[in-house]
Symmetry: C2
Subunit: 81 residues, 2 copies
């Protein structure tokens, strides 16, 4: 089973890296982009021995306790067979 | 319209950052994770004036030409209304 975890800055937190990329794109002439924010993304391979519920619980735990800084970040994840 | 661009290292490229996270998770006692790779993730807000086709073309162009290093990385993206 595979899990995809997406970690992004909370809406209320400034994203200077995203702002910089956005500014660069504008200068390079790319049109139509009104905002850009950057985040992190994790591709996790899980042992085949885990049930879907166990996998869900384990990924949720890893995402919440390790991959995300709860003060400034939020996460979401999807599971795939 | 919103676009989500996911940039990850090609399968053939080593991912030392992912390996480090994987090793740390193992040491911390998280079970059931057989592999972990890290990537980047971009959330792009597009001007409402763009049609779906224009948005698709623009995001594809930005992802290919700027956000991805074609030597070692690959990308995929989704569009959302």
């Amino acid at each position: 089973m595979k899990a995809y975890v997406y970690v992004s800055l909370k809406k209320s937190v400034l994203d200077p890296q995203g702002k910089t990329i956005h500014g660069a794109l504008k200068k390079m002439g790319y049109r139509g982009i009104s905002d850009l924010r950057q985040g992190k993304y994790f591709e996790i391979n899980l042992d085949a021995s885990l049930s879907r519920e166990e996998a869900n619980a384990e990924v949720e735990r890893v995402a919440r306790e390790v991959l995300t800084n709860p003060v400034i970040e939020e996460y979401r994840f999807t599971l795939e067979d």
